[in-house]
Symmetry: C2
């Protein structure tokens, strides 16, 4: 296989891809999260977006956050739940989830099963914002959201 061909075709093995590094989700201590990894599948200078694959181990979760940029998500592996704004839903493979601007969101894998998803996002984007204590309290005033956030 020559170099050109390697860059054109990257094979898949158990939710890992050749030439794609499995990276930490975020810098340790930057924000609360648990048992989640990040693989950047496509990030070409010619493309306006990147395509990333995130995977949480059983019981893992992403950071509760919001930002101006939106996310376009497709679940690929396993089951879990996600919070988008004030709505909590269960998700399964191939479900689509839109996360609009400035909307609190978090993904959680169910116990006993990892949750993996693709996330398309603008290459140029703002940094996420974490909730204040008051904002967490406001979210927890909604019983379904409180149950979700408490795992």
């Amino acid at each position: 296989m020559d170099i050109e061909q390697q860059s054109l075709f990257r094979a898949f093995r158990e939710y890992r891809w050749d030439e794609v590094t499995c990276q930490p989700y975020k810098e340790e201590g930057a924000a609360p999260f648990k048992a989640i990894s990040r693989q950047v599948l496509f990030a070409e200078p010619q493309l306006g977006c990147e395509l990333r694959y995130f995977e949480m181990a059983a019981g893992g979760y992403s950071t509760l956050e919001r930002h101006e940029h939106m996310h376009a998500v497709m679940i690929l592996r396993g089951h879990g739940r996600c919070l988008v704004g004030q709505a909590v839903r269960t998700v399964k493979p191939f479900d689509l989830v839109s996360i609009p601007s400035w909307t609190w969101h978090q993904f959680r894998a169910t116990e006993g099963e990892p949750l993996g998803f693709l996330c398309m996002v603008n290459a140029l984007r703002d940094r996420p914002q974490l909730p204040t204590e008051q904002e967490v309290a406001a979210l927890k005033a909604i019983p379904a959201v409180a149950a979700f956030l408490e795992g």
Copy 2:
């Protein structure tokens, strides 16, 4: 389920999505292709890219074409082969394929099985170019490419 929630979560059933229309691949007669459909999963004005799902029935194929914009592809369903430049490869679920600018490309489903893939592409992009007879002849001078193009 209220309207806001409907737009955030779209469920999947057998490679079809709620609120996503299964469209013709291209206008009939615009270019050669066979047994292929297109579903636009995400095309938000805020995103620099669109995410589409293309599916070919068994033995179907996409148009042999090239263009300035690039494609970032992930196979989702079934098996087939693809031509990228002068390289022909078999593809299986979750394989990644990059299609660089101005590179001839075509996907073909194997006999007996559909082939479905995600394709991320810039929202603003040029129109595809079809090969001239001379360009097809030059591609067919490569035995593996000739075998691919002849199905």
